[in-house]
Subunit: 329 residues, 2 copies
Amino acid sequence: MSTPATAVVIGLSAVVVAVRDREAVALTVRTHDPRTGEPSSLLGLPFGPFDPDGHRTFELALRAFVTQQTRFELGYVEQLYTFGDRGRDAPRADVGAGAARVISVGYLALTPQAVRALGPDTVWTPLTRFFPWEDWRRGRPALIDEAIAPRLADWASTDERRGRMRLLFALDGAPWNEERVLERYELLYEAGLAPEAGRDRERARGLAGAEPRALSPALGEPMLSDHRRILATGLGRLRGKLKYRPVAFELTPAEFTLSQLQRTVEAVAGVSLHKQNFRRGLERTDLVEGLGRLQPETGGRPAELFRFRRERLSAGPAPGMALPLLREV
Amino acid sequence: MSTPATAVVIGLSAVVVAVRDREAVALTVRTHDPRTGEPSSLLGLPFGPFDPDGHRTFELALRAFVTQQTRFELGYVEQLYTFGDRGRDAPRADVGAGAARVISVGYLALTPQAVRALGPDTVWTPLTRFFPWEDWRRGRPALIDEAIAPRLADWASTDERRGRMRLLFALDGAPWNEERVLERYELLYEAGLAPEAGRDRERARGLAGAEPRALSPALGEPMLSDHRRILATGLGRLRGKLKYRPVAFELTPAEFTLSQLQRTVEAVAGVSLHKQNFRRGLERTDLVEGLGRLQPETGGRPAELFRFRRERLSAGPAPGMALPLLREV
DNA sequence: TCAAAAGTGTTATCCTTACACCCATGT
DNA sequence: ACATGGGTGTAAGGATAACACTTTTGA
C-alpha cells in the first residue's frame, strides 16, 4: 500500500446574506478554540467538510450542514469560487493518518428573513463590520481618507500600486465601483492592513494557528481562516448580479413596497439610488406587479404593496435592477 | 490509524479557446484506454490531478500541466466552476489504498494563436463538433427543428419541460439566447440525448467505464467524462463575458482589422453582427486605437490596422463589446 | 469593369439622467 | 398645519437599431 502523501479535504463555506432594518447582514458562527474550548474572538462563516461518501452534491451537503449548524434553511444558493492557495487556506487539518490540505468551495445564499430560529453561537452580523469602507449610502466614508489612504501610503511605492489604490478606493476623483469588493480586500491584505495577512505570515513561519495580532485600529473586523475573503467574494458577486438578474427579490418578503425594495437594494449595493429612476427601471422590466392593497405602516402616506412575478423567471432570461445613482451629496 | 473512507482527488480541466479561420476551437486531447493502450474514440480536455504537496495554487498547477501535456503556454486564465456531483464525475480513480472521488475544477483560458507547437495527441477541435446547435451565424441551424425538437418531443411531457425546451432552443418564436450553452447541454443530457447520459447511467448500474453507446445520429460529439459539460460552461461564460469585459482581445493578435475582430466575436458568440453598429459600439468604448497602417491582404479594399489599448485595463473597469445582432435572414 | 470587402451618413426610437412637484397619512 | 414618506411629469441627451450608400483594392 502506497502512502498517500497529503490528503485533500474539501471545505464548504456559505455566505448567507439577508437585509435587516437597512443593513446587509451575513450569517456568522462564533467558534471555540478546539484545544481549550474557549470561545474565539473571531467570527467565521458557516462551514463544514464535504463527505465524499455521504454527499451526492456539494449543494446538498451545504444545505444539510448549514441547517444542522445554524437551524436555518437555505433558499437561493449559488457557487461562488473555489479557493485553493496554500497559505491562505485554513490551517492544515488533521485527518486520519496525517495532515490534509483544505480547499474551500464558497457558496452564496440569499434569504428574505434575517430573523429565524438560529442555533447557539450563530449570529447575523452586519457586513459593514467586516468592510466598513463599503457603505457609501451616506456619502463617502471618512474612513477611506482618514485611515485607508494614509496607511496605504508607504505600500504604494510603484505607479502600478498607486493606480490600483486610486481606482479601487476612488481616490482623487476616481469613481467608486461598488462591485470590486474582493479586489479592495485583497489590496488591503497585500498591504498588510488586514490582520489575516499577519496571521498567515506567522503560520508560514511555523507559529501554528496564531490569532491575528491587533493592528490599531483594524481596517474591518477580521474573520477566521480565509472567511473574510470568501465573504468579500460573495458581496462582490451579489452586487454585480443585482444588476443583471432579479436576485433582489430573494432578499425581500413576498409582498413589499417599492421603497422597501429600493432600501434592500441600497443596503446590498452600498449606494443611494434615485427614487423615480429606480422605479422607472423596475417598471420597464415588468418583474413586479402592484397588488392594489396598501401598507399603512410607513410613517407617511401609505404605500402600495407589490409582489415579484416569479413566473417570469421561467418565461425567459429575466434582467436585474437599474442602479441609477443618486448624485453625491 | 483510522481508515480514511474514500479519498478526494481534485482534477483540473482547462477549456482553452482560440479562433482559427472563422471558427472557435478548443484544445483537446486524444486519450488512450488505460488498460489496453488503444486510442479512445473520445476527445477530452487537457486535464490533470492537483497535487496538494507540490502545487501552491490551482492556477499554477493548471498552467504547469497544460504546458507539459500539450506544449502550450496559457495566457488569460479564469476559474469557471467546481463540479462535484456524484455520477457525473470521472469514474472513481484508484489512488493509493482505495477508490477516490474526483472533483473537477474547470478553468477557462483564451489565446490569440491556435497554431503552435502541440504535443502528440493534442488537437484543436471546432466547438461546433460538440455543440452543432450553437452556431447561428448562417441562420437558425436546421438541426434544431429537424433533430432536436422532434427527439425531445416525448421527453417534453410537462408544461415546465416544454417551456424550458421552447426557451432554450428558441422554438416557436422564442428568441435565441446565445449565453445559455450549459443549460441547453444539460437539457439534452437530462432528456437522454447526450450519449454521456447513457454512459453515466450504465456506470451507476455497475458496468464500469462503459463507453457511450451510439445513439443515431448523436447530438454533438460526446467527450470523455464530464468534459463536455465543462466545455459548455466555458463557452457560456465566454459568451457572457464578451459583453462586459474586453476579453475578445485575448483572442486576437496584437494588430487586427475591425472586421477580423468582428469575425472573432461572431465565431465565439455564434451570431452575426451588424457591422456599423458593432463599430460604433467599439468606438464608444475607446478600447481600440487605429494605427494608420493598412492591411492589404483582404481580398477587397485594404483595411486599417488597430490595436487594443491594453493600458486602459489598469485605468478603470473596462467594458466589453456591444453585440448588435444582424436581423435574422 | 466587376466582385469583394472596407468604411460612412442618417434617422426614429428608446433609455437614462436630471430636474421639480403633488399626494395621503399621522401627530 | 406640517412633517414624513409615497408617488408622478417632463424634457435634454445619449445609445440602439435599422435603413442604404460610397470607397478602394485585386482579378
